[in-house]
Symmetry: D2
Subunit: 484 residues, 4 copies
């Protein structure tokens, strides 16, 4: 579903190329493919004959790069691009990435997807010793740590900096000498490297972007791994050996494109498996299965396959998702939502409907859809969520940093059923989710991070720890209870 409707937002997409004469054009195409990962702003740094040059701004890739000259000015054999979604308050131009740092000894571009759990304390410490930050994002901390490292080479400085930041991160850096990419020790955020027909290399957030530019996947960057790509080729090393895979499960549930593969698992197929498993765990008596377009169609297909209930097209999503002006009346505001999503009355009228959605965040959209279905004559609506209830914040790069707005953190299943106005409500189990994805690993939770469902975080929470404790107290929850 569109970012405008749902409050769950990925914090970025990264795309870099080294060693291809069309590096900038390929990065432009790649960012289009990753546009679903961030719509607030975009930027590209190109390695031109005159050094690293940047073009960036607010809006979609097609808005930021509105004129051919915007790309031409960046042309060269290497480039790094970024699409950004930001949290409220951080909407300043200085936060649009890649950040570009110009030093007497050369420039460095930096792009990031994720969230650092100790960024605030690191920044406070750095500022106390005279550091000046140009952005308000956590990303910039890495560069200050790198520049203050006494190590003799850029790569060693970078390795030292990477060991000092905590949380979920996928960093990409571009200099005149090379393209560098690194994953956090849990591999929370996806990052892959591929090769172009020209022999050039691509580093990006999802394999779908590799495919879009005609590159072949070389590998998923591993937890704790640092990749260096220079004119001498690709070099890999571990900057830490304290790693344990914990891929963000919401990438499989909602964020990633269905045509991407994460650690060998196709996202669409994982979603079909979730839908199948959901049908087993939460069966329903119904005439048709309808998915919320577009992210829930795979799970709906799986539910239909496993349950034998016919898959149907019951909701139509507008192809032209437009930001609409604030409407003068409540009635107009509601119609504005309907403009984005409409019910196929002919399909649902008189039918018992299984409505499959990938997740519930605040519950408002689900409530509206249920209401639309009922108005269109659905006899009953059985809501099935292809993931467990979202009850805890994420600190590794998804924009849920408070439990206050989480529907499932504040209501029991019975309450949710009543509020949403559905005839029945069922969620996928955590175990079901883990089995459906089925990563090949011996790591806990089969290599997934399921903290937003269980409250069990794979790493210390650093600057957020106190805050989380207070919030949960406020909800009269405690971790032992919820995880029982």
């Amino acid at each position: 579903m569109a970012a405008q409707i749902k409050s769950l937002n990925e914090e970025c997409g990264v795309f870099g190329v080294w060693g291809d004469p069309h590096a900038v054009e390929l990065t432009h195409l790649g960012l289009h493919t990753l546009q679903h990962r961030g719509q607030e702003g975009a930027g590209i740094v190109g390695r031109t004959p005159a050094g690293l040059r940047r073009h960036y701004g607010f809006g979609l890739v097609s808005q930021v790069f509105a004129h051919p000259e915007d790309l031409q000015a960046l042309r060269g054999p290497a480039a790094l691009g970024h699409v950004r979604y930001s949290t409220a308050g951080g909407r300043i131009l200085e936060n649009i990435q890649p950040l570009l740092f110009r030093f007497a000894d050369g420039a460095v571009a930096l792009a990031h997807n994720g969230n650092l759990t100790n960024a605030m304390s690191l920044r406070a410490k750095l500022e106390a010793s005279g550091a000046i930050f140009q952005s308000t994002s956590d990303t910039e901390v890495l560069m200050h740590l790198l520049r203050r490292s006494p190590k003799p080479t850029f790569v060693e400085q970078l390795k030292e900096a990477l060991t000092q930041v905590h949380g979920g991160f996928a960093f990409a850096l571009l200099t005149e000498q090379g393209l560098y990419a690194a994953c956090d020790p849990q591999g929370f955020r996806p990052l892959v490297v591929g090769q172009l027909p020209s022999g050039g290399y691509v580093v990006c957030s999802e394999t779908a972007a590799l495919t879009a530019v005609g590159a072949e996947l070389i590998k998923d960057i591993a937890p704790g791994e640092l990749i260096s790509i220079t004119d001498q080729g690709l070099n890999s090393q571990a900057y830490t050996d304290k790693t344990q895979l914990a891929v963000c499960s919401m990438e499989f549930v909602y964020f990633a494109r269905p045509d991407s593969e994460i650690h060998g698992v196709n996202v669409h197929q994982a979603r079909v498996a979730m839908g199948r498993q959901l049908a087993k765990e939460q069966p329903a008596e119904a005439d048709i299965v309808v998915g919320v377009p577009n992210s829930s169609l795979s799970a709906a297909l799986g539910y239909a396959q496993a349950s034998g209930i016919p898959y149907e097209l019951g909701l139509v999503k507008s192809q032209y998702v437009a930001r609409t002006f604030i409407q003068p009346t409540q009635a107009l505001r509601e119609r504005s939502v309907r403009m984005k999503l409409s019910v196929l009355k002919a399909t649902v009228a008189g039918k018992r409907v299984v409505l499959v959605d990938d997740s519930i965040v605040r519950g408002t959209t689900a409530k509206q859809i249920v209401q639309l279905l009922k108005e269109a004559g659905a006899k009953s609506v059985h809501l099935r969520i292809a993931s467990p209830p979202l009850r805890f914040p994420c600190f590794y790069g998804i924009d849920i940093q408070t439990t206050k707005e989480l529907f499932a953190a504040n209501h029991s299943v019975a309450e949710m059923k009543r509020i949403l106005g559905v005839d029945s409500l069922g969620f996928l189990s955590v175990q079901g989710l883990e089995d459906s994805v089925g990563l090949q690993t011996t790591a806990p939770h089969r290599g997934l991070c399921v903290a937003y469902f269980t409250g069990q975080y794979p790493t210390p929470l650093d600057d957020y720890a106190a805050n989380l404790h207070d919030e949960l107290a406020c909800l009269s929850m405690d971790l032992s209870e919820v995880n029982a």
Copy 2:
């Protein structure tokens, strides 16, 4: 599929409101819902306290109305809007609709969907007697005829003008006194009227736009019908009694939204029926059925249902369809196409695929998709087209005015199969199409226009007749043969 990929384009969407304080805002929402009918330009005329005022420009509705003040300047109790797709050469601002005519005795706004077959000869005659046209579109002819009519009232002048124009048309006019809407005598182009909760009226191209603004359908405007809406309410009359229903079948096949209903038939359900019928007429041995998103998903679902072959998600369409710059190399151009449509390799690899598309125009997109599927490892591709072969031009409002580029007009089925690289190829029959739509009427072809398939046009072609004759001669076709 997106207009950028396919060469088949509808020539417009119309949306008007009378008698609601939020007429302009509703028209804005309505145009968003009709955006698929035209992306070249948009405009709204509002009935403000200072008279009719217009805002218009090139681009999507969200681009033309980029600032809240663009709408504010138009506010009032009535409005008329339009989205436009234009043919090459006509890309001048003066052609963006609604056209606005300012007379000493009041202003008139005019919006049109369709194509007039005698516009050129009427225009020549009018110019010879001193008329000056401000646009190069056929639409403006109506206003000149109206203004030269000696009849005493606006409605009578309009009626007289309507009897002079031929072809396919859905006109809407707004004055300070009323909102007027009329359909051609065959009802080629859809036009409906509905009512808002406020009591106000809406006239628009598709019922989905009624739903989007919370209006209830009153009726499809009938062939030869003229609707007048004033502060005294809605009045209907026939401007001619020589009518015979011949709805453009491509509205059902491709153009209209799945959640619209045309003369009582839901478009999605008509497409499912076409898919079902196609499975019967053109069966295939295969493992999965894949539809080309988004317009062919309904037909694919029908094919899967009737054939028993599982429906699968095999192609992913980018949510962010962006105009891309002209790419410097052929390889980049191809990647640019892949950015818009990608294959779900995990779904199709090793499978025998039934690929369902709604129609074939030039064949280039189908060829690319087939190639993508084969590259992704599809064992075989059986292409099934949910409509008959497009072999003749349309002169009633679809942008196919030449047979030269029509794939099926220039090649036999065997040749097409070879060129596309498919393992088998099958089209829906004309009879099958007519039965699938199933309009309740005794008109020929069950009330559909199927001229682009058969070459049998429901009306004289006027200014186009000679031209068509030449083209067919050129193709060594003649109508008797092709319709045998």
Copy 3:
């Protein structure tokens, strides 16, 4: 002074080229030179290999032609351009000139400077017989008359049309066959023709624009003259022989550039002569002479020369005249005016100042300047106006169509002196003005139109006659009295 401050506005500048490969670029330069004649909008029509093409919009020439491609699309061997100032209410895109009419038998571009006195009645008559106007400007009337003329050739149709319109006009028309230019029978509005080094021809409003593009003046287009420029060269003919020169005297007083020549008289020198004559007619005891920049500097120089009082720089006009936002308080609004014009305190403090201004329209600007001078310490301010009191409307192309706002129409000299807060006030006499300009002619008023000073109009006022009569009655004026 800037158009933003003063309410006296010329209604346009015209610039056309025929027969030069850089016709469009030259027209662009020429319009920049004529920018002082209109800042609301601009446009150029170029004769491209694909026919006449237009680019136009609101704003300064540099804003309308903001990208090199805006000009490139128009390139060819002929062009016609226009800069426009419009009266309130007419601010619609359709009024930006050149108007471009596309006929089956070829396109015609039309640009105009002036005002037609019988446009309203002609338009009413034309509309009654079915004509449709695309703009609300009077200019378009000419084209309708031309197209309805039964004459066999374009030039004869144009001649017939020219005899039907009354008032002040300088028309330029561009077709694929030629560039045409015509003046009204009194020659109210200036229009000249010149020749480029390339042999090509230029038609434009002022000689300064000829100089700017390197063209030599051939001649001022005479009252009642029609110039036709084709590939066969320049042809001149009279479309009427009822002519009598009455050049708008405000062109000499205020509008035209100082480096332009009108009917052989340099504008700067005419202004110096006005200043000299003013010193004789209205002497003053003072220490310095200060002119209001920039239009009054020439007259101030003449006053200083004739009086022997030193010329000084007492007012500084901002080089960057910017439209400023509406300011929230009165104090801010006043400061906003001071930003555009400031006093050189060091020059005026303790001095008796002769302040020379070219004219007084509403009196508000003069009042502000006087106040600024007094605040800066001027001992006394003797205001001298280098033209007679403006008391009557103009109907030939200057934006004074009502006497209500004319300061001198509503107050005696004594009242004006008191309101403005000056120590003395003197105007140039009508005779003095006529002698200062000194056109070589036997026409009344030495070939000038002085109607805004005397109320004696050189032509019937047609559609405006009744209106003027009412206004004067309202002011308790009658023509015999004021001209006594």
Copy 4:
């Protein structure tokens, strides 16, 4: 003359307000008044209820602040603004000022006019210890020094930082606590403080901007002085006592507005005095005196007064200075220059002309003007320059950092006369310049910096010293010789 024509460019204008509810609107007006000091970019930081907020961009003030909301978002009781001209290469958005630094303990905005001679070495040292710069301008160095200062208060940190930077500078800083302004120890660059009717304070580059917003001058900020303005009022202190006045003489010659006063001397009157002195030092036999508009009109007036030769208007400068596109041919490029400046043929034809210009930088513009005058029929042209020959670079804030392009550094007076095509050529003497300005001081050169004329720099040149030595060697000049 316009920045587009002449290569001499001031590097900025500064305007700040503390303690007025309309601080942002006043800053906007003030920047318009200072627009002549920089046209590349502009910015304003406002102290809003939500902290310091910034709006900035490339272009004129009217272009950067194109919508009312651009100002509204900054509203509050204090603001700091800047207009910038930059040297080639530095044209990146990050360099547009005020720079805004966001710290955990509060934000700081920084605006600067001048040039630091030891910025490069300071930056190298800071980067070596881990500092990261966001811009490439020298301005940012101050903030890094300030943040690394161990002093306990902001003001003490700022004082320490000010003693470490060398060269010419006028800094203004805004925090939530106050507005701060400081001048370099020589007072190279002007900076004044004034008071508004509201009691609020203004700090800005020129007194003309005080006048524009209705503020009264309190004082010129003295060499080595630091002004602190807080809610407790204005506080002044010396951050160093090693000061000696050396105001940039080019401020009097060319940069500053004629209505500004610097250290008690009105700029217009200083220019008139220069013109008078020039007439004494370099008399000419001639019929008229013509100044190059607009900056040389004051000196021309002085020359006319002292010589008794009549002052005349001989050159007209276009009011609408527009950036023009690169023209396809040399002829068009030349016409493009003429568009900006044209000769009043009627004034100069047949006359012996004294042409007064304020300075000669590269000589190209002067050459063009002389040619225009000769073409217009001037019998002879006697060029008089109201300043001494520019032969040495400036390192204190004027954009002449190389002697290679300086006309007078590369040619003798005789050669210059021949190249320019004038009948005689004369410059003002250094002594004449110093006496004409006549600052009340016992400092060397009567308190002026005349280094660009003499090569004697008032301070060590730090990072530029080696470079200058090489350049002079290259020109076969040495300081002892040129100053002999």
